[in-house]
């Protein structure tokens, strides 16, 4: 049994981390307020908007719905792991305007890119349905994720 804080070890963006987590902290709180990784955003706080999306053991989750103590011994990847050149096409398609949803959009997009077999069964729009954007109308986001039109077509 543990009281108020608990020491956990997990992997964060490829590096081992040991943290004294507050039992009341969600993964999102741990990242933003304890580990100085404010890239993941809190939009709705109830699993609807996807702005807080991170990868937990390689799959996208809403970090606002994960108790911080549940990531012990697991692998967390956040938007801070993105390097210039990732999802580069999104820069050209108007995929971001105000930017609040963008960290979550990018994390779901990277999961799709890393698992192209998903597109044999699902459309990009279905896979992106958990990332709400109030600015772009989505077309810019979807265009940035799908293969560019052939040169002959353009």
């Amino acid at each position: 049994m543990a009281e108020s804080r608990l020491e956990i070890c997990f992997t964060l963006n490829g590096a081992p981390v040991t943290a004294q987590v507050s039992l009341r902290h969600r993964l999102l709180d741990l990242l933003r307020y304890e580990l100085d990784l404010p890239g993941s955003k809190e939009g709705c706080g109830e699993g609807e908007c996807g702005a807080c999306t991170v990868h937990l053991d390689g799959i996208p989750v809403n970090s606002c719905l994960v108790p911080a103590w549940q990531v012990r011994d697991r692998e967390v990847v956040t938007v801070e792991s993105v390097v210039p050149g990732d999802i580069a096409r999104m820069l050209d398609t108007g995929a971001t305007q105000c930017g609040a949803c963008t960290p979550g959009v990018v994390m779901t997009a990277r999961w799709i890119e890393a698992n192209p077999q998903l597109l044999e069964r699902f459309t990009t729009r279905q896979l992106m349905a958990g990332n709400l954007c109030r600015c772009t109308g989505y077309d810019g986001i979807i265009d940035g994720l799908e293969p560019p039109p052939d040169a002959e077509d353009s």
Binding site: M1, P60, L65, W69, Q70, T108, A129, G130
Partner: protein, 275 residues
């Protein structure tokens, strides 16, 4: 706030036996909603099941499929073996979004006991049984008998859900229909799961009563083979089986009317006729 981190399911059962008030948590997609404001929950003691790999197993047997209590919607969506139980991936794909489907568990959907649960109706239409475990032993409860009212569960305070067992039958008809405000990220206003096999008709409603429930009057009506000439001809059965309410998402009148029409069109090939 306290957290019990069980190292095995047996240990989790001991904790639940000794501290029946602990809140079991798996994916957290219901329990963590608006967490900063959930003050009453902050004072509770928690029992974390999420690390118990032994509960994450999907087992296909000769005549049944067993879902461990940690099996998620996404596990089922991804697993092509579930083509034999197509309502499961179909319903799973309507729950929230990928980020919810990767965390939400079928057992959690049962335990949370929302009348609007989307996983429960399809499990119930396939005659699922829930294995409840405690340090005293195991018992198997038909999911159709699991709810005794709004958030009133069959579970004793010392019990945890260990697994869900689905008999493998040949179905010549099955459908899951969800009416929500939009295609993704919607909570059900009116929902139903329908299945027909040698075991007979199963018609299950969600968002229509204090708990997800089988509609036995409607099942009997369809079983009788008596022609049904309009959606309104289903209304007596609907009123015998369910009791929709007005709430933030819809009204009783809308729910009754839409349920009758959606069900009528689903059943049209079997007992309906346009007069």
């Amino acid at each position: 706030m306290q957290v019990h981190l069980a190292a095995s399911f047996d240990e989790a059962l001991r904790v639940k036996g000794q501290h029946p008030d602990v809140v079991p948590i798996a994916g957290g997609t219901d329990l963590l909603v608006q967490w900063p404001a959930a003050h009453a929950l902050h004072e509770r003691a928690w029992l974390d099941l999420s690390a118990l790999g032994e509960l994450a197993e999907i087992r296909f047997e000769d005549d049944a499929v067993v879902l461990g209590a940690l099996v998620t919607y996404w596990d089922v969506i991804q697993d092509e073996r579930f083509q034999v139980l197509p309502l499961l991936p179909a319903a799973a794909a309507t729950v929230g979004s990928v980020q919810i489907q990767t965390r939400g568990t079928w057992a959690g959907n049962i335990a949370n006991a929302s009348p609007a649960a989307d996983g429960v109706p399809v499990l119930m239409a396939y005659d699922a049984e829930v294995t409840l475990a405690s340090t005293a032993g195991r018992r198997l409860v038909p999911l159709a008998d699991f709810y005794h009212g709004y958030k009133q569960l069959e579970t004793r305070p010392d019990e945890l859900i260990e697994s869900i067992r689905l008999p493998l039958r040949t179905h010549d008809f099955e459908d899951f229909i969800k009416v929500g405000s939009r295609a993704a990220q919607a909570i059900t206003k009116v929902g139903m799961a329908i299945a027909h096999s040698e075991a007979g008709w199963r018609i299950v409603a969600n968002s229509m009563a204090p708990a997800v429930c089988r509609c036995r009057a409607l099942e009997q009506l369809v079983e009788s083979g008596e022609p049904v000439d309009s959606p309104d001809a289903l209304m007596a059965g609907i009123r015998a089986d369910v009791s929709p309410i007005d709430d933030i998402r819809s009204t009783a009148a809308y729910r009754e009317k839409v349920f009758s029409r959606v069900l009528y069109h689903a059943l049209l090939p079997f007992c309906g006729s346009f007069s």
